[in-house]
Amino acid sequence: MPMPDKTTDMAGVITLIPDGASIMVGGFGVPGSPFCLIEELVRQGQKNLTIIKNDSNEAGMGVDWLLQSGQVKKLITSHIGLNPNAVRLMNEGLIEVEFVAQGILAERIRVAGAGLMGFVTDIGMGTPLAEGKQRVTFEGKEGIFEPALKADFALVHADTADPFGNLTFNATARNFNPLIAMAARCTIAEAERVVPLGKIDPGHVQTPAPFVDHVVALPDLPEVYGIVER
């Protein structure tokens, strides 16, 4: 039985994204950030986007391109400390920023991908991050209800993909990528290599293909994917 072929072209697949979309973006720092998908999104210029990503990349790369071009309305993130542009835009009220503790962000995305409504945790109790959040008490212990965080699109960077959309990630480039791939209505993966069906050992697949909607093979990687010189 053949598997469906989900390979497509970069420009075409990004046109699926409308103004106002919520978009999860993979990556923790440079590793796993889908720079080419973001670059095409900047080229096409969709507006009023909600971006959900662990961090806002550093100045001059990735999510920062979207911030500089004024396409971002809201950022849901765990920290933006490495990007002074993001901090400035937040302080000037030009973007809305929602901070979520890193593991809670990961888990809110994961439970969305698991088709659940949310989870209950004691993380953040007694701190500002708990303020205004719904409480749940179970067997005498109080916790915070953290709702599932879904998105319209996920932009994923994979090391290797097959045409059906099975994905593997390289080292710490995995980070949020397998989580967001499960949590979006439409998951778009860019891959450094697209190999024939059956070339990825079924036991080594890190994102199973049923979670992936589109696969884009990357050309030679631009420099931004390389070692960061600080």
């Binding site: 598997m3 991908g113 088709g115 097959d162 045409p163 059956g198 079924p202 293909a209 049923p210 979670f211």
Partner: protein
């Protein structure tokens, strides 16, 4: 092709609703047998809830991998493009709407789409397995069942009498007598098995059945 009996025609009819590009889970028993009638060339991804997407052909014991079974315990092969995952990811796939279709068995189905397929109080209660999540979360839920039980009593009812697996979840029912859809306007007869009359179907059904005025296709 040799003449098919009523059961075989039911399975073949259900197989027609498996379309290119779908991810599908087939329940244990009759539903699993539907694959026999799906073209080998159709690009379809078969999911089994014990942790595989890309179930291929059954294999004989001498060719079997002791670590590779489907949720029914049958030894299977993976297709090229298959993936293995843990049980949490497997049901994440189900609950988050990645299953385009599931076909399940039933003790009873109601005209409002309620499904009962796991408890017969006092007689059978060996656990629900993965049925609740398949029934509640697959985008389309089909039930494959004989139209009546072995005593001739209808299995399609106005309301289920047995404890429910999931409420308002069934979209289509494939039986040895008919194909019926469950819609917001109630239970509708869509197709009829060759050699069966509309009256036969109505008499064997325990719920109001809307009969379209146009001629019914047969299968």
């Amino acid at each position: 092709m040799a003449l098919l009996n009523a059961k075989e025609r039911m399975l073949r009819r259900a197989a027609k609703d498996i379309e290119a590009g779908m991810t599908v889970n087939l329940g244990i028993g009759l539903p699993t047998q539907v694959m026999t009638y799906v073209s080998k060339d159709l690009p379809v991804c078969l999911h089994s809830e014990n942790g595989i997407a890309g179930v291929g052909a059954l294999v004989t014991k001498d060719k079997a991998d002791r670590n590779l079974i489907d949720a029914g315990g049958a030894y299977i092969s993976p297709v090229p493009g298959a993936s293995y995952f843990d049980s949490a990811v497997s049901f994440a796939l189900v609950r988050s709407g990645r299953l385009d279709l599931t076909l399940l068995g039933a003790f009873e189905v109601a005209a409002n789409g309620d499904l009962a397929n796991w408890i017969i109080p006092g007689r059978f209660a060996a656990g629900v397995g993965g049925a609740i999540e398949l029934a509640q979360k697959a985008r389309k839920v089909g039930v494959i069942t004989t139209h009546t039980d072995k005593h001739g009593n209808p299995k399609i009812l106005e309301r289920c009498t047995l404890p429910l697996t999931a409420i308002n979840c069934v979209d289509r029912i494939y039986t040895d007598m008919a194909v019926c859809d469950i819609t917001s306007e109630g239970l509708i007869l869509k197709e009829i098995a060759e050699g069966v009359s509309v009256e036969d179907v109505v008499n064997a059904t325990g719920a109001d059945l809307t009969i379209p005025s146009a001629p019914l296709p047969t299968f």
